[in-house]
């Protein structure tokens, strides 16, 4: 019986891939720059070139059950990548079938956030849970929803776009979607940076270490975190503000699917309790009685690069997600 799966995570910048066994051990991994090859077919050719030695080293193609791919706007039902804003490939790409043809292996594809949720369920802190939601707080805000042990795909395969739900109606404009006040405009790395710039402008007389970073445009969620740890008031206010909004959004998600836990991962979680405490507080304050003090907020304990590859590979072992 085939012992291994290939897990591939396609991101806006990097594509990470690896050979994974059924216990979630990554035997080998590598990466390539997603947008460097000239088009989709070139990308797939380069991926194949880099993977072939890995496949050979692990006993050849007969030892592999299949490939799992997580990609932005990846659709599990169709195997297509459709209108992904962060990729150079435009329109609707029949990605799963193109990869399958090149490698001669069955391929399953889903969106990157769903793949991450699969990884958490099979190998991470949601192991054994049947109802949970994962939220990626990265450059954007992604989400994967699990109900009754299955990823929620919806009638067309596109369910779980919680980063685009409205939480501050009429609020900040999301340049990518044209919609105002969505979660992603606040609780992403980009959002935190924008909040920082706003707060510094709105409070010209408040001293802040962050002002030093504005000169060369170096404000990131990381610099905000470093300043907050040094006791900077505005930096701390930024996390309070972000946590309040994120917590309210999480309360909304809880009242939809009543999960056992919400698993957070991505760059913003590096801020630890600075963001977790106000998030928890705001979530609890906005839950109705039957949900209070029930829902765990967890930080993913998988290494970030690993989670993506593991999650994608997990698609291979599931009869269906």
């Amino acid at each position: 019986m085939a012992k291994y799966a290939i897990g591939i995570d396609i991101g806006g910048t990097n594509t990470k891939f690896g050979v994974v066994d059924q216990h979630g051990k990554i035997l080998q991994q590598d990466r390539l720059l997603t947008n460097e090859p000239d088009g989709v077919q070139d990308f797939i050719n380069e991926l194949h070139e880099k993977m072939l030695p890995m496949i050979e080293k692990n006993g050849g193609i007969k030892n592999f059950a299949g490939m799992g791919i997580g990609a932005p706007n990846g659709n599990y039902y169709t195997g297509n990548i459709e209108y992904a804003a962060n990729l150079k490939w435009r329109g609707i790409i029949p990605f799963a079938s193109m990869v399958s043809e090149k490698f001669g292996l069955p391929v399953r594809l889903t969106n990157d956030a769903n793949a991450a949720a699969m990884g958490e369920m099979m190998y991470g802190c949601a192991k054994g849970m049947k109802h949970f939601i994962t939220i990626t707080l990265g450059t954007g805000v992604g989400s994967g929803i699990v109900i009754d042990g299955k990823i929620v795909l919806g009638h067309d395969g596109f369910a779980g776009e919680l980063g685009h739900t409205i939480i501050r109606p009429g609020g900040r404009l999301h340049k990518g979607t044209g919609i105002r006040g969505t979660l992603e405009s606040y609780a992403s790395a980009t959002g935190v940076r924008e909040t920082a710039l706003e707060m510094l402008t709105d409070n010209p007389n408040v001293e802040s270490l962050l002002r030093d970073y504005t000169i060369n445009d170096l404000i990131t969620s990381q610099t905000v975190y470093e300043c907050a740890m040094k006791g900077d008031k505005i930096a701390n206010d930024i996390f309070e503000f972000t946590g309040q909004i994120l917590g309210e959004a999480l309360a909304n998600f809880v009242m939809f699917s009543s999960p056992e836990a919400i698993v957070l991962f991505g760059g913003l979680t590096k801020a630890g309790d600075l963001i977790l405490n106000p998030t928890k507080q705001a979530m609890e304050a906005n839950l109705i009685q039957i949900f209070k003090n029930k829902v765990k907020i967890l930080y993913s304990d998988l290494k970030e690069a690993d989670a993506a590859i593991l999650g994608a590979s997990a698609l291979v072992w599931e009869v269906s997600i």
Copy 2:
């Protein structure tokens, strides 16, 4: 084989019940006042007294497969009614087992909004759909969510409380929950009445037919509808305002579970296009590209009293919801 089911819908005012066949035909029905009997056991005794002749008339207990009950805060997993705000019965009531003991029939219980969703799926306008959401726009705002042909119950049986999701953070206070800006505070009969009173106060110089109704405190969603149909500006503004908020909330729900349709029912839907048009417009304006012009908003075509009984009875025929 047993041919009939009993469907019971427990509301804050009325309890409706009937005998239903497998094709969704209601053979007989009646009602009683929910809070008139002295306590839960008295209520069950009275229900039994009223139902017994119906059961006898349809061939006796051997012809009945079971009973299905929809109740506020009814929990499918436990069979309990827990802390229902609109009922006199306090605390946690083991309702399903109490009814089962009295009648000698298997009993399934779920919350009233989930029962309504079951009714729509088996006999209403969601027949054949596997992914949809029902929203009751009544005294409050209830919801039932169907994913992959199953009601979403969540890890504890309490999922689907969409009326309590936040859509105007820091907005109107919900007296029952103490939470500000939730959908129920705006898109319910109570909410529409409050919007009317607010708009009349905020626009003292605008003439409105609604002012005549304020004298004896007769403003209801029905009177707002009647005035709007006569071309009253404030009355029309009220539906625009309510539809805008409802539409934004529906967009959020779509981005969670990507349903094929949203089925609306309850008193507010009597306002027809006055509420439907602004709702649709606001929903579409707040959906990201992949969801636009895909999701139907439907009005339930089941008679209101029937939907409740049918939905509850449908619980009996399902192996599991």
